[in-house]
């Protein structure tokens, strides 16, 4: 008999990670100091588009503490090295080389032109001032639409166009649905809108930092990155270094939100410089540098047409996007809009769909993944236009959604994009959300305020979203021309003392893998939570991985952990039978013990680990270890969903928006740790709400980022945000054995349209049908003035 312990999975375990983080005993990359280490500082262009006539580094070279100053001519004379883009979305995609340092021409304000190597960071910084660069202005390309017109100046002359790629999905052509032009032609109602996804800064709290040590047999790179494994392989490929001579470590990493998915010019530069000077080097950026040089997010123009019958049945959706890539292509930048392509149909049974995205180069900081990556853009557009359609039809916006969404009994459901949603229950999440929100009561209050002409009007915003998570089935990535697979790796080491090391290829930077993975393994092996250590982010220990993004870690990486644990148990079983002198068929494994059925004879997995370590008496042919590894390649995505309801109060005299209440009910499938899930939702909500209300990276007509510091760019503080009411429904995913779906991006994806819908809803009776994001008081006030003037 074995005692059945309460399962760890599902418990609100306090996090293991916290112990070091709340006491300041953390290993951030910038904390690393090595003997003889030198410091890098990068001279960056203040010009958005200019020829480099001359770079005079002679004065800088004589500055105190300066060891060397390098330009592109010194680091890469042949112009061969380019930071890679791993996602050529079309065969004819235009891909400019993204150099470590600009040689002849700068293409965005913030691009590096020289690097100083000095004994201290301060001395390196001082020497930057002594570098003299002569520039000759070139016409600046900033407007995405203008950039596509004939005869417009080019960001990259050698490409002959500012168009990066045109990517199209048409359900009629793909055979997954009807022809959208027919649907629009035959429709009883059509609504067309243009939405703008402003440019955002990921604004992870830890600035990027790289340390390179070239002094041992392996060259070691520490980087504040989300993707140590990809960085290792890509660094080898890009610089022509033997991959087995590289080790990449992502130590504690202070947030990413997609902003640390990159193989950076700065990382490559640090490696090349370290090799040149033969000493360890460190580069840590300032925040202002980060705002200019780290990739931005979003920045799309969305032209959307929806067609429907008078009864509210949607018959088609047509999407034309223009997406700003900035001056170069990031690691996955061109593919970000494509991740959204499959999500415009959202939770709905749209029968016809066409998506076309034109990616454009401009003289701005490049764009790439930012929390949600493509999916927030899609969700925003469809949830906004559903509200507009509801108004056109005179329907309640929730009723319109319900008419079109996939009913819970209709799963699995293959969408107009060809994705198969395995499960979901939109009715349950919506019912719960409406109940928590007091939907009907707030609608009544809204009417009362309208009737009495209250200065402060009330608006209700709905967002019923889904997202594709668990990136990704490798065959799907292959069909989309992505340059890697979507699997994840895990390994488990059973130590002689009964402790367990879990190695995961998923590289956490705040998500809480150490806690959640421990819970999973504790249940699988019956080993105490405290006896499990989860190791990640070091290519020397977690040797394989695809890292962390796209809400993939648990659905893909967690599954790999389960598979590895199952292999450990399978390996232990013959040893248990041998130790207990019974047949394997008589054994059952539960609570960490192998027991002989119907007896009290048992051995624990810890006993077996020791026995195997000693290896004195093992079954014939058994290798003396229980360790196991597994790689999981998902067969399908997972599809979290939920219903978010936002009530805003809008002061019609000042344009000020206050969030009065926010309710979200998310269905992220089975939950390993509700505390972590709730935290992810909170953080996601704030980032999405902040897109709606506060954030935008603004460039002036010269291409200068005008709000490139934390003093100017509005990262919300505690005082800017309300508390949220969060709840969950639980429909297990059927696409992985844990039944999980992913939660990292849900809040961000759902909340932006909920807030904007609420603002427009508050002002609809004043003639307002759109407020461009961020919905600042000025913009809201102007919308009211313009609406009233009609």
């Amino acid at each position: 008999m074995t005692a059945t312990a309460e399962p760890e999975v599902g418990k609100a375990r306090l996090r293991k990670e916290d112990a070091r983080l709340i006491t300041g005993r953390t290993r951030w990359t910038d904390n690393i100091t090595l003997p003889g280490m030198l410091h890098l500082a990068i001279k960056r262009s203040p010009m958005a588009h200019a020829k480099i006539l001359n770079i005079d580094t002679s004065a800088a070279r004589t500055m105190p503490g300066v060891i060397a100053v390098f330009t592109a001519a010194d680091l890469d004379a042949e112009g061969a090295v380019g930071a890679p883009c791993a996602w050529p979305i079309t065969p004819d995609m235009k891909s400019p080389r993204r150099p470590m340092l600009a040689a002849d021409k700068v293409n965005f304000a913030g691009e590096g032109v020289a690097v100083v190597v000095a004994r201290s960071a301060a001395e390196a910084q001082d020497a930057l001032e002594a570098i003299d660069v002569d520039y000759s202005d070139l016409p600046v390309v900033l407007d995405m639409e203008a950039a596509l017109t004939d005869g417009y100046p080019l960001v990259h002359e050698e490409l002959g166009t500012n168009r990066n790629a045109l990517w199209v999905f048409d359900s009629g052509e793909a055979g997954t649905g009807g022809n959208v032009e027919d649907a629009i032609r035959d429709a009883e109602v059509t609504v067309t809108r243009r939405f703008r996804q402003q440019r955002l800064v990921p604004a992870f709290m830890e600035p990027r930092s790289v340390v390179v040590d070239p002094t041992a047999a392996q060259l070691t790179v520490w980087s504040a990155t989300q993707i140590p494994h990809i960085l290792k392989t890509m660094t080898a490929l890009t610089l022509g270094l033997p991959e087995h001579k590289l080790r990449v470590v992502a130590p504690d990493v202070g947030g990413g939100f997609g902003g640390k998915i990159g193989v950076l010019p700065e990382e490559l530069m640090a490696v090349v410089v370290a090799q040149k000077v033969g000493r360890p080097v460190k580069w840590t950026e300032t925040r202002s540098e980060c705002m200019l040089a780290a990739h931005h997010g979003r920045d799309q123009i969305q032209d959307i047409t929806i067609s429907a019958n008078r009864d509210g049945t949607v018959t088609g959706l047509k999407v034309d996007l223009i997406a700003d890539m900035g001056a170069y292509l990031g690691l996955v930048g061109p593919g970000v809009p494509i991740l959204g392509a499959f999500m415009f149909n959202a939770i709905y049974k749209f029968p016809a769909y066409r998506f076309a995205c034109t990616n454009v180069f401009t003289n701005k900081t490049l764009t790439d993944a930012y929390r949600g990556a493509g999916r927030p853009e899609a969700t925003f557009a469809v949830e906004r236009i559903m509200d507009e359609l509801a108004v056109e039809l005179g329907m309640d916006p929730m009723a319109l959604r319900e008419k079109n969404w996939i009913k819970h009994e209709e799963f699995p459901f293959t969408t107009v994009c060809g994705l198969t949603y395995d499960s979901g229950n939109y009715e349950a999440a919506t019912d719960r959300a409406k109940q928590l929100f007091d939907y009907d009561g707030l609608r009544r209050e809204q009417q009362e305020r309208r009737d009495r002409g209250d200065v402060v009007q009330l608006g209700i915003g709905i967002s019923t979203y889904t997202e594709m998570c668990g990136l990704a089935p490798s065959r799907v990535l292959g069909s989309l021309s992505y340059g890697a697979g979507g699997w994840e790796h895990a390994a488990i080491r059973m130590l002689p003392t009964g402790k367990v090391e879990v190695l995961t290829g998923s590289s956490a930077h705040g998500q809480g893998h150490e806690t959640a993975w421990s819970q999973i393994v504790s249940d699988q092996l019956g080993v105490p939570f405290e006896d499990i250590e989860v190791l990640h982010g070091d290519t020397q220990s977690s040797v394989r991985g695809m890292d962390t993004y796209g809400s993939r870690s648990l659905a893909v990486g967690g599954t790999a952990v389960v598979m590895a644990a199952e292999k450990v148990v399978a390996k232990a079983k013959p040893v248990a039978a041998h130790m207990l002198e019974c047949s394997e068929d008589d054994l059952e494994f539960s609570g960490g013990k192998f027991s002989v059925r119907g007896t009290d004879k048992a051995v624990t997995i810890q006993d077996i680990a020791l026995t195997v370590f000693l290896a004195h008496d093992l079954p014939e042919g058994m290798e003396p270890h229980l360790d196991a590894e597994a790689v999981y390649d998902p067969q399908n995505f997972s599809f979290p969903h939920g219903t978010h309801l936002c009530a805003t109060e809008v002061d019609t005299e000042t344009g000020r928006v206050t969030i009065r209440s926010y309710v979200c009910v998310d269905d992220v499938g089975k939950v390993v740790n509700p505390l972590i899930v709730e935290g992810q939702v909170h953080g996601g909500l704030v980032q999405g709400i902040s897109q709606a209300l506060y954030e935008e990276a603004v460039h002036d007509e010269t291409g200068t980022l005008t709000n490139g510091t934390f003093a100017d760019y509005h990262v919300p503080s505690a005082a800017d945000m309300p508390s949220f009411t969060t709840d969950r429904t639980e429909t297990a995913s059927t696409t992985n054995p844990l039944g999980v779906k992913g939660v990292g991006e849900a809040g961000t994806i759902a909340s932006t349209p909920a807030v904007v819908n609420a603002i427009v809803d508050a002002l609809r009776h004043l003639g307002v049908h759109e407020v461009e994001m961020p919905c600042t008081p000025k913009r809201v006030w102007q919308a009211i003035q313009q609406g009233g003037a009609r």
Binding site: L14, R15, E17, D18, A19, R20, L21, I22, T23, G24, R25, T26, W28, D30, N31, T33, A122, A203, F204, M205, E206, P207, D252, V253, G254, G255, F257, T286, R287, S288, H509, G510, Q511, G512, L675, I676, E678, G679, Q680, V681, H682, G683, G684, L685, V686, Q687, T709, F710, A711, V715, S717, A718, A719, M721, S723, F724, G747
Partner: protein, 178 residues
């Protein structure tokens, strides 16, 4: 310039450049890397420490200004292996994710509680306005600070951290609560 400064209970004498920031001194000279730098405009608060019992953004203080002063960093909060109640509350309430803002957030929260031992939600939100977090959405941070308030007794603020006096009085907070 020569400075004498007590950091987390140890007195250091150092020659520093006049332009050296306190945070650089802490990190680069003393290896107190628990205190971090998140911006260059003193907006993020990640570098918050206590200088003579009051929270300061250590990126906005010169090392020479700390001459003769007592500095407490996140690394100096534990007493006898016991977490400070605010540290404990951040853990208990899942008030951190990546943890980069956490040292500054905790130091500011302690200062806030010294001024207002029982703040309501809005008082916490406004008291932490100068400290940015990108992960948590603040809700659990607010909860943690209010939870800590309930576990702390009056007088448990930064003044309780003073260690240079001969009599080292333990903050009541360290024996309060759990």
């Amino acid at each position: 310039m020569r400075i004498n400064v007590n950091v987390d209970g140890t007195t250091y004498t150092d020659d520093v450049e006049p332009r050296m920031l306190l945070v650089q001194y802490l990190r680069e000279r003393l290896g107190k890397t628990g205190t971090v730098v998140g911006c260059d405009t003193s907006n993020c608060g990640a570098c918050t420490v206590h200088l003579d019992g009051h929270s300061v953004k250590s990126c906005s203080v010169l090392a020479v200004q700390a001459d003769g002063a007592e500095v407490t960093t996140i690394e100096g909060l534990e007493r006898d292996g016991q977490l400070h109640p605010v540290q404990q509350a951040f853990h208990d309430n899942h008030a951190l994710q990546c943890g980069f803002c956490t040292p500054g957030m905790i130091m500011q929260a302690i200062d806030l509680l010294a001024d207002n031992p029982d703040p309501d939600e809005q008082a916490v939100r406004h008291g932490l306005e100068g400290n940015l977090c990108r992960c948590t959405g603040y809700q659990n941070i607010v909860r943690a600070v209010r939870d800590a308030a309930h576990h702390m007794r009056p007088g448990a603020g930064p003044s309780a951290e003073q260690v240079s006096d001969t009599e080292v009085t333990r903050a009541p907070s360290h024996t309060a609560g759990n």
